[in-house]
């Protein structure tokens, strides 16, 4: 996914010299290609994220299309007020990339982990929120973000867990993508980012055959597709590497409660910070998001069928 990110960024940068890449001294090897291909469009602003966002707002006002890169713990969390006031308030076309979302930086602790970014960003007006699951979704999200006339937060989580899709995508902004079609009409899985793969893996192990949906566009989201899923099912399981408060699970529940209420199980991060140091897989387990933990929760939930 990171190579796809770099390739797409280079493509956009070469096509449009108004595209400027701003980084807060992060993304060392990730930008080698961009720096080589578009050297005048690369700005390392130093370890100063707040200034980076204000700077991007000024650049956007003079006709540029800034792509602001940081770790998602910093962009958008550290600079959420700058995004709100300097950017979103004035509908400026700036793309924010929050890399390493969730527990990617498992060994580094709470400062580098980010499970509140969707909740914070999706409550800001004029700010779209994207959360791609693989390189194909990322390419589509980045191209869509480039065409947007207002700001986008693009969440990049665990990036090396393989493809979900087989081909480049061609959906509309806001669409959910059906990753797997099941025959059981009682249950659907809805997932975003890294958890799409987990949802798909769990669906393959169940005795019932369920639909699995991926959500690359969290805001705006296609309400009619979500309402259709709610109407046609009795249970939904939502998977996300994010807090259970304010993320995709909350969003689906908001839409369901206003249209076709049904029971929803959230496979998400509880109201707690990570306690221990360890691998990414270890931390997923600590938070109950690994395959085995999630599978058990889903089985227990489905016993109520």
């Amino acid at each position: 996914m990171r190579q796809a990110f770099s390739d797409t960024l280079v493509e956009l940068g070469k096509k449009d010299q108004k595209v400027l890449l701003l980084t807060g001294d992060h993304g060392y090897a990730l930008f080698d290609d961009f720096r080589r291909e578009c050297p005048k469009q690369y700005i390392n602003v130093g370890i100063a994220e707040q200034n980076m966002v204000g700077l991007a707002a000024g650049l956007a006002r003079t006709g540029f299309k800034p792509v602001v890169y940081g770790l998602s713990a910093f962009v958008p969390i550290r600079v959420i007020e700058q995004i709100k006031l300097d950017v979103a308030h004035d509908k400026l076309p700036i793309i924010f990339i929050g890399d390493g979302a969730g527990f990617v930086y498992s060994h580094l602790g709470t400062s580098h982990q980010s499970t509140e970014d969707i909740a914070c960003s999706r409550s800001i007006p004029n700010l779209s929120v994207y959360s791609p699951a693989d390189r194909f979704e990322l390419e589509w999200c980045l191209h869509t973000a480039y065409k947007e006339k207002s700001a986008v937060y693009l969440r990049m989580g665990k990036s090396d867990i393989g493809d979900i899709h087989k081909l480049s995508l061609g959906m509309q902004s806001g669409d959910l993508i059906k990753v797997k079609t099941g025959v059981d009409s009682r249950v659907s899985f809805i997932a975003t980012g890294s958890m799409v793969k987990t949802a798909t893996d769990i669906s393959g192990k169940l005795s019932i055959d369920v639909d699995v949906w991926s959500v690359p566009f969290i805001k705006p989201i296609n309400h009619s597709i979500v309402e259709g899923i709610c109407r046609n099912n009795k249970f939904i399981v939502v998977f996300e590497e994010h807090s259970k408060y304010g993320g995709l699970g909350s969003l689906i529940a908001e839409i369901a409660s206003a249209s076709y209420p049904l029971k929803i199980l959230q496979i998400a991060v509880d109201d707690c910070f990570s306690q221990k140091c360890g691998t990414y897989e270890y931390l997923l387990k600590e938070h109950g998001l690994d395959f085995e933990s999630a599978y058990k929760k889903v089985c227990s939930f489905l016993q109520k069928l």
Binding site: V45, G46, Q50, L55, G58, T62, D90
Partner: protein, 266 residues
């Protein structure tokens, strides 16, 4: 347009009285600075506040916005109804600067934002090969904020000599004197050490402000500029000068009339 300081101050008082608003002292301290900028430096082709070819004036200390409204009234960008209906239900002009009003560049009030946006504007103008200038007015209390200094480092590192910071050094912030709350020491030395061309000036002496800005722009050095304007909070109204309670106090009929008399006397 004269941007007569007495007239601008009267407009500020009219708004403050009509709207029963706070933040009077910090608007009165920046009157001469704005007067000189609008009269002599800020170029708006065809008097268009959103012209693509305008100079940018960023009021980062959004609390002083009534002073800017007073200038915008002179420019014809606001009218008397805007002044008479200040703070009425459904009106447009807020108590802190809002970028949706043509002529106001950024939304402020949360401090320390406008400086970085101004640095971005200056850099964007440079990249576009444009000759326009960017001015950012900050308060001395406001420069407690960290992003100001992040932006200052960036502006100097990138030789943004089309950027000018103006510091309204009135010596007060919300809760008291700056020297008692977060001592700033020499603001001039701080900006110099950050790589700026700096001049300190009496912020109520229009001729001196004018000359200092001209000198800063004429400097051959490829540095961002900073004008440190020593001002008096509440300037022009005898009972408000250096009385920080006018950061919060509202005018009643009697104090409004006294304030107008004080301005007319000066």
């Amino acid at each position: 347009m004269e941007f007569n300081p007495k007239k601008l101050r009267r407009t500020v008082l009219d708004m403050a009285y009509t709207g029963s608003t706070a933040h009077i002292g910090c608007a009165l301290s920046i009157i001469e600075i704005l007067s000189v900028l609008y009269k002599n430096y800020l170029h708006y082709p065809e008097n268009n506040p959103i012209s693509k070819y305008r100079d940018y004036f960023v009021l980062s200390k959004g609390h002083g916005v009534m002073a800017q409204y007073a200038c915008m009234l002179e420019l014809g960008w606001l009218n008397n109804n805007d002044i008479l209906n200040y703070f009425s239900d459904g009106s447009n002009l807020k108590g802190l600067s809002d970028s949706r009003i043509p002529g106001i560049e950024v939304t402020s009030g949360s401090l320390g934002h406008g400086f970085s946006v101004g640095v971005g504007l200056a850099m964007g103008l440079k990249l576009n090969g444009a000759e326009q200038k960017t001015y950012v007015l900050v308060g001395d209390g406001e420069i407690n904020e960290g992003p100001i200094w992040e932006g200052a480092l960036f502006a100097a590192h990138n030789n943004l000599d089309n950027f000018m910071a103006i510091v309204d050094e009135n010596g007060f912030q919300a809760m008291g004197e700056t020297q008692d709350i977060i001592g700033l020491g020499s603001i001039q030395s701080k900006f110099e050490s950050f790589g700026f061309d700096v001049i300190s000036v009496d912020g109520h002496d229009e001729a001196a402000i004018n000359k200092s800005i001209e000198k800063l722009w004429k400097s051959e050095e490829k540095k961002p500029k900073a004008l440190i304007a020593k001002t008096i909070k509440g300037k022009g109204v005898d009972f408000m000068e250096n009385d920080n309670s006018w950061h919060y106090t509202r005018l009643d009929k009697e104090s409004y009339q006294q304030a107008i008399l004080s301005i007319n006397r000066e």
